[in-house]
Subunit: 158 residues, 2 copies
DNA sequence: TTTTATTATCTTAACCTTAAGATATTTGAT
DNA sequence: ATCAAATATCTTAAGGTTAAGATAATAAAA
């Protein structure tokens, strides 16, 4: 299939931005691409354990906190209450956690990891970490530390 | 609301990974957070022009290519054909682009930017660039260049 | 030439997220 | 003690993405 059919022309764009802006834009594009390709792989890894990325993150929180109000999970992983309800329902149906009503504050429901959930996570977390580590193979340790530093600054700058 | 109700305990986690893995994981977390907070702001900016981020990206491609097969847009911005159909429909309804059937290959439909689309993008692209530039204020120019280098390596490492 | 494989677009259903708002409970102010 | 504001969870509807597959057209192979 030929791609030239008469009218095509490359770059009518006559907007030129200064060098600083250009490098900011480039950074944004490169960051997006890196994030997407890494996250795609990470998601595949989590799916291979039978968990969506949101479920994985919730379970990770529960693994470290054992019992925590639903609300606080949403704050930690930055999703809305609707999404928490949805994902907690799924994890509860799978038997990896259960809801426990608070006796102190009847508005509150705790999420509590079950033995099955803990066993699952004991198994998959090391696998996941080593999968992430492999993804980061493009940088050596010193570069990673610098990259961490830059990305922290970027995140805060917003 | 007290957060301690009897059974809580911090970190039952007894999995310890080596230092390299730990810094890979940290990098992944920091990258995710930076991406999300930057992208949240960028999306707000695009919404302020009346475009979703996907619509913005499609229009950006069209602005530079003028006319391009639908398929190739999906390849450029990494979305599936279903998503292209959805977003092209919206842009076409808004009058910013139109479908043009190829006369050479009847399977192919070109997306072609309209004058209205070009005018819109002439207006909003400089605004968007300066908005992105502001978001990147956490790093100076040299740091940006280094960050770009690292992120390229990371993206390729996958 | 006929068949087979590939390609481009569109359709549909499922999934996941958010925003808005409903309900119930608790806290704080008067 | 009462009323208003704040908080936690859930519900619903809408937006947007993907995966799978339907359809049609072209290219390649037998």
């Amino acid at each position: 299939m030929s791609e030239l059919e008469g009218l095509e022309q490359e770059s009518k764009n006559n907007f030129v931005c200064d060098k600083d802006q250009a490098s900011s834009l480039k950074l944004f594009v490169v960051l997006s691409k890196a994030y997407r390709s890494l996250m795609d792989q990470a998601v595949k890894d989590m799916k291979s354990y039978g968990l969506s990325s949101a479920e994985f993150m919730v379970l990770e929180v529960l693994y470290h906190r054992n019992r925590i109000p639903l609300q606080q999970i949403g704050e930690k992983i930055l999703v809305t209450s609707g999404s928490i309800t949805y994902n907690i329902d799924k994890l509860e149906n799978k038997g990896f956690m259960k809801r426990v009503p608070s006796s102190e504050d009847r508005r509150v429901t705790y999420a509590e990891i079950t033995e099955a959930g803990r066993e699952l996570f004991d198994t998959i977390f090391p696998l996941h970490v080593s999968s992430i580590h492999a993804l980061m193979g493009g940088l050596n340790t010193g570069e990673k530390d610098q990259a961490i530093d830059f990305l922290k600054k970027l995140g805060k700058g917003v």
